[in-house]
Amino acid sequence: MIDRSQAPAIKDAVEFEVLLKPYELFRLDNGIPVYVIRSEEQETLQLELVFPAGSWFETGSLVAASTNFLMKNGSSKHSALEINEMAEYYGAYLNRNCFHENATFTLHCLTKHTADLLPILQEVIQDPVFPEEELAIYTQNMKQKLAVNLQKCEFVANRHIDKYLFGEFHPYGRVSSMEAFDALQAESLRAFYKKHYTYNNCKIFLAGNLPADMIPLLNRYFGSTNWNGENHMLRPELPILPAEERKFRIFNDENGVQGAVRIARPFPNRYHPDFPKMLVLNTIFGGYFGSRLMSNIREEKGYTYGIHSQMYNFRQASAINIQTEAGRDVCEATVAEIYKELELLQKEIISEEELSLVRNFMIGSILGDLDGAFQVIQRWKNLILNDLDEHYFYNNIRTIKTITAEELQQLAKQYYNREDFYELIVI
């Protein structure tokens, strides 16, 4: 009989060498950089175009996101239906996304259809017309979606906590509203598009199994002209205006059976030397299933289905945000337990066993995240768009492997003080 109480020997994940596979870099004739990670195993491909066209750069609320969304809804040659039809015929997924800093277009397709899909992608990127009709439908539908979301305590809580942290005039704290949707004008979307979706603002990230003539194809559709002209974009420095008051209780639904709890504080951005170290402390505190918060508030007390602590990593500033939905009658108790756990990390040194577990978990998780070309290009994209390189990646790995319990306690003393946190419950 085997002794089942005895764990099999393991290799510590910290001993694994985590390698970030290097990318290939091409430049199209007009200078657009194309970053490539190849893999031959599957017949699939992912192509992403990134522009600095996020909410950071908009002058009116929702302009960046709406521009990004509506680019796909009609060109001078084709209607929204025809564009969707052409892409979907090939089983391709053509998605767009708008974030605080950047806006993206992503094409996922089978390698064999690439040449048929690039002309459609070109039209969407270089020739959108923003029809009034499409804008009207979009506005109406987004307002209806917002009305439904405003009934959810977690949605309302997320909006408020961002406002407290960054101020409602800052793009990180600004939220959507019925009025802002009503104020959208096709003309301002066109102007925003013309200024931001230019060839010299474009970066391309490519992964998967590429057709042999991929670079010539990209050159033909995206590299042969200086489409939309040259833009010299300035990055305005916007002031962050956090709220003065720190404690909030909001009733969104008097019959709610749960409350959304948010405990958050501002934190320096990823370029600060404490940032990678805080990623480790945050993991211990509330960043994985075995975290302090989960063990206490879910697995010990059963107050919630899940509780997490997260580090925002926006470019200008970041934040620590602890979030959960808890039973209505235990929301206040949950807040008290969160503070208790914060203080515990200040008072007591973390055991070597727990620290070693978190190191192994984090390294194992990075190893898993780097599995496959699509994931590897994602890592590179995050580095490149933030003007970082592989040294930053390897420095983070080194931090995970070498940070000491004393350093973590020091960080807790510096950043886990109750009085620095915003506190919110939305029922």
């Binding site: 089942r4 393991i10 979907e88 109406q140 699509f374």
Partner: protein, 404 residues
């Protein structure tokens, strides 16, 4: 294996990782109607420590691994992904919880609460959160698909007793009811040896013979009207379709794509863009192993009357019943499936999950033949099935009104 455990190996040397997936042939359909939500409650208890290992997560995280699980009305699936060099840790953990759980009042008490919070978070404290409970009850009269995986009501979970829980475990979570699939940087010889070492001595258990009531064909339309504190009127319709292994299931799947697979699909184009009856509309199906439901759900544009919205849907369904769809449109939805299957195949985890799932359906090898079933569907099949599925007497409708 001798104890009835089925083991599947998928070698992939392009990754440093391994996935160990254990599928148990037990889902919400195997529950007592008076004790629903047990299979899902079990999923939670399975992380509360097993007979020889007090903590499941800690040793796994120490080995650089991550894990999770899901329960459906058909099955329960646990999976671990970890660096392949630490493969044995996953075998040790999974085999010990198959051997027996560390049943305790404390663990049961906490997980009851956690599951109740999950129930509240997803089905009570959200606008329209109750609709699929009500729809299942409306559409099924006998088959246990008439309750959701989370359970019919909170009290079933709140009243769960340790003895009932133990009995449920020893009835269902045995080698003879389980499929183990291992994928990644592993070899068949290695997996064979580890499986023998860790799972070989677990008593096989009795094969659970499923004997579920067959849902009789629906003979009249069902309608339910609800008024609730939501901002928009909403419309939900479902229609009975066929079991997962029936060729007509694939036809129904393609019909749902024709209706709402992407921006160029029929419902979106006709009802959101052209007639502006809905701000959102979607068609999907439950994908269940026994005969499932195809569903259409939409939020009405403010000011649109329920009967006009319903008529809009009806007209689109009638088009499918009356006119043969163009070959190109059928090819489009087939291309969509081909592409979706290829993207699904990229992940090690989803390959391991799928191998176990197809084995549950009878043969892991079916996984490679899946697309052939879709290729076989013709425009005439679509035409014929649309007439059967969308017949009025096969329909279940919920009018969900925005009240105060």
């Amino acid at each position: 294996m001798a104890n009835g455990l089925r083991v599947i190996v998928h070698e992939d040397n392009t990754t440093p990782m391994a996935v160990v997936n254990v599928l148990y042939d037990v889902g919400a359909r195997d529950e007592d109607p008076a004790q629903t939500g047990f299979a899902h409650l079990f999923e939670h208890l399975m992380f509360g420590g097993s007979v020889n290992i007090p903590e499941y997560d800690e040793p796994l995280q120490m080995a650089g691994g991550e894990n999770n699980a899901y329960t459906t009305n058909d099955l329960t699936n646990y999976y671990v992904e970890l660096p392949a060099e630490n493969l044995e840790t996953a075998f040790w953990l999974e085999s010990d919880r198959m051997l027996s759980l560390a049943f305790s009042e404390k663990s049961l008490d906490v997980q009851r609460k956690v599951v109740c919070e999950e129930f509240k978070e997803h089905y009570i404290n959200k606008p329209y959160g109750d609709v699929w409970h009500k729809m299942r009850e409306l559409a099924y009269s006998r088959h246990p698909y008439r309750w959701m995986t989370i359970g019919k009501e909170l009290s079933h979970i709140e009243d769960a007793k340790l003895d009932d829980v133990k009995a449920f475990f020893f009835r269902h979570y045995r080698p003879v009811n389980a499929i183990l699939s291992v994928a990644g940087k592993v070899t068949t010889a290695q997996v064979k040896a580890l499986a023998e070492k860790w799972f070989g001595d677990i008593p096989s258990g009795e094969k659970y013979v499923r004997n579920l009531p067959v849902e009789p064909a629906q003979t009249a339309p069902h309608l339910l009207e609800i008024s609730n504190k939501v901002p928009l009127d909403a419309l939900y319709k479902t229609y009975h379709i066929y079991p997962r292994k029936d060729q007509r299931y694939y036809t129904a799947d393609l019909i749902s794509d024709i209706l709402s697979g992407g921006g160029s699909s029929r419902l979106h184009q006709a009802l959101v863009k052209e007639k502006k009856l809905f701000s959102y509309i979607d068609c999907a199906h439950f994908g269940s192993l026994d005969a499932g439901l195809l569903s259409i759900e939409g939020k009405l544009v403010k000011g649109v009357k329920m009967k006009d919205a319903e008529k809009g849907i009806q007209e689109e369904l009638e088009k499918l019943q009356q006119q043969i769809i163009p070959e190109r449109e059928l090819q489009k939805v087939k291309n969509r499936v081909e592409s979706m299957l290829a993207f699904e195949d990229m992940g090690l985890l989803s390959r391991a999950n799928n191998l176990a799932y197809y084995e549950l359906m009878g043969d892991a090898g079916f996984m490679n033949k899946e697309f052939e079933h879709y290729e076989r569907v013709t425009t005439a099949d679509i035409h014929q099935e649309a007439q059967t599925i969308f017949s009025e007497k096969n329909s279940n409708t919920i009018h969900y009104y925005a009240g105060n």
